[in-house]
């Protein structure tokens, strides 16, 4: 017998000695005052919300309902640790065996068997079947500790995932023992200095069915999967993060073919650069109206107007000009297909096809109703992150209103615009206004986010149909206040001179 171990029979008993055969315990994690050491999860967005990852050397509780993605989040944390951060991990699973888990995540490109072979991951499946176990007298869960410790040592683990330890409550009858042992386990994990993720089933009242949040007091992340109007949305919230600032909002996250990604949070502070360089709007006379130089790079432009006023044409000019400069452009379509748009623009002399072929221009067409706003937002983020554009067009952004309320859409656009600004991407958003008179009303919800606002209007005077546009606002530049008439020619959009036929001072 190597040594005498003291068992804690009461929940209040302090943890005694955790070292095993080697006799030397891992020194407790030293937390510097003021700055908490963190461990990167490698999960896009999550590390930003938590400002650097999970608390290093401490357990984090990830709770959520069935299918909320908690196991996936935990596994991604482990796999990223092993593959990106040179931190081997241990997965102790209580619900599925190693093979089942491996096949679950194989589609995401996680090769668990390979990681196990490379000694970067150890998986221990703990099976507890109440019907097979007779309980008599005092016991503790030292067997679990021994297994965990053995697994940790076998790969030199720095990360540990327990998924889902609450299963023990179904397997063992004595809740009191279980609770005191869980308390001891979480202390033990801390003393081991491993960064742990413990998943828990969401309960009705408390965060988790068994009140695990009571034991894991360092960080708690809540995952939520809601279906509203037949549109499903996943959200993540950092409920608690002791000793650290963190974003407290609910953040949408995505589970797709590439795994889990939390939306890169809109920057928490308004700290965008305000570049001074200007880029052409694609129409020389419009540039002239915008202080002679066009848009600010990284600014956001709203082009609003009724049906058939030429919004998309204006946006197409912008794309064309950007591509001519060799910039990468992304165009989100919520109404037309890329083919329709290409054809329509060709009819006014704007041929975008070569830019598509050259790989400079990419279309991304989605029906707004295809999924919820959050998912749209997440998808757009993903596409932007993949394509690295310097210019983006959303046409028409008002179509998104069909899947959310004004305030939802506004919130979503705020986040998107925020992100685009952070990335210094110039964005043109078109907005369909229902009639001629209430031009400004519809966009009120988003106009404050816009740097430049161009209004297009049709006008019928004396049986004569005329098109006009004016710059309603353009921050940080002297701009024209004139309503200018324009025509759509087979050479594109042609704005008349300021002293043209339809000349008015607004």
């Amino acid at each position: 017998m190597s040594q005498c171990r003291q068992m804690s029979d009461s929940p209040q008993v302090r943890h005694i000695e955790t070292s095993t055969s080697d006799g030397a315990g891992v020194p407790p994690d030293l937390v510097r005052v003021g700055e908490l050491a963190k461990t990167l999860t490698g999960i896009q967005g999550l590390d930003e919300i938590t400002r650097g990852g999970l608390p290093k050397g401490r357990p984090t509780l990830v709770c959520g309902g069935p299918g909320s993605g908690k196991t996936l989040l935990a596994l991604t944390f482990l796999v990223n640790g092993a593959t990106q951060f040179d931190e081997p991990g241990v997965l102790m699973t209580f619900e599925e065996n190693a093979e089942e888990i491996a096949s679950d995540v194989a589609s995401l490109g996680f090769d668990l068997p390979e990681l196990i072979k490379a000694n970067k991951l150890a998986v221990d499946y703990v099976r507890v079947e109440r019907s097979e176990i007779e309980e008599t007298g005092e016991y503790d869960l030292e067997g679990l500790f021994v297994r965990l410790d053995y697994a940790i040592q076998s790969v030199g683990a720095r990360r540990v995932v327990l998924d889902t330890i609450e299963s023990l409550f179904a397997g063992l009858k004595d809740d009191a023992i279980l609770r005191s042992e869980l308390r001891r386990l979480f202390r033990w994990l801390k003393d081991k200095g491993v960064t742990a993720v413990i998943t828990g089933e969401r309960g009705d009242g408390p965060l988790t069915k068994q009140g695990l949040e009571e034991y894991v007091s360092d960080a708690v992340i809540l995952l939520d999967h809601r279906v509203h109007d037949q549109v499903s949305t996943r959200r993540l919230r950092v409920v608690k993060y002791r000793g650290s600032h963190h974003g407290t909002n609910e953040y949408p996250f995505l589970i797709d073919a590439s795994g889990i990604s939390v939306l890169p949070v809109s920057s928490m502070a308004l700290a965008h650069d305000a570049p001074l360089n200007r880029i052409s709007a694609g129409i020389p006379r419009l540039d002239t109206m915008l202080g002679d130089k066009g848009y600010y790079r990284g600014s956001t432009v709203l082009v609003s107007g009724g049906a058939g006023t030429g919004k998309t044409s204006l946006a197409a000019h912008f794309l064309d000009a950007a591509c001519r400069r060799g910039e990468r452009c992304l165009c989100f379509l919520f109404e037309e297909s890329p083919q329709q748009l290409l054809r329509n623009m060709r009819s006014i002399g704007i041929d975008l096809e070569p830019w598509v072929t050259a790989g400079l221009l990419q279309f991304h067409a989605d029906r707004p109703s295809r999924y919820g706003l959050e998912t749209h937002l997440a998808t757009m983020h993903q596409v932007v992150a993949d394509f690295h554009p310097t210019a983006v067009v959303l046409d028409p952004v008002t179509n998104l209103m069909t899947v959310g309320t004004f305030s939802d859409v506004q919130a979503m656009l705020t986040r998107l615009i925020d992100h685009l600004k952070t990335e210094n991407i110039t964005a043109v958003l078109t907005s369909l206004t229902p009639g001629l008179t209430n031009v400004e009303r519809t966009e009120n919800s988003i106009s404050s986010l816009m740097d430049t606002w161009i209004v297009l209007a049709n006008d019928d005077v004396g049986g004569h149909h005329r098109r006009g546009l004016y710059v309603l606002k353009s921050r940080g530049m002297r701009h024209s206040n004139e309503l200018r008439e324009f025509v759509l020619t087979d050479q594109g959009l042609d704005i008349f001179d300021g002293n043209g036929a339809h000349h008015a001072v607004v």
Binding site: M7, E134, V146
Partner: protein, 110 residues
């Protein structure tokens, strides 16, 4: 009371009908008590027909996985099949006998 240093305690040389494994983690009061209780029960009910193997998980942690050991002490009845598990210090003799399927047998013969 000490656990025997000998890993097995075999009071009889015949073919053992009952192969029992007691998993412990170090020499704790609970494990000592469990062993004492087990020994007593076996002597009372299985004399000459049993074999007890004690596995100290602190020395052989890799063995915990095979029998799905979680709690200690855990008594595993490896033979006769099916495998049965009894966790705790085995202080409730009735429960242990039921767990080992000995209760009915005794009731039948008594």
């Amino acid at each position: 009371m000490q656990l025997s240093d000998d890993r097995t305690a075999t009071p009889s040389r015949d073919v053992k009908a009952y192969v029992l494994r007691l998993y412990v983690a170090g020499q704790t009061p609970k494990s000592v008590l469990a062993f004492r209780n087990l020994k007593q029960i076996c002597e009372d009910h299985l004399q000459g027909r049993y074999e007890i193997e004690i596995i100290d998980l602190l020395e052989n942690p890799q063995l915990a996985r095979g029998d799905q050991i979680l709690a200690v002490p855990t008594l595993v009845r490896r033979l006769p099949e099916p495998i049965k598990k009894i966790i705790g210090d085995l202080s409730n003799t009735e429960r242990v006998l039921v767990g080992l399927d000995l209760q009915e047998r005794r009731a039948g013969t008594a």
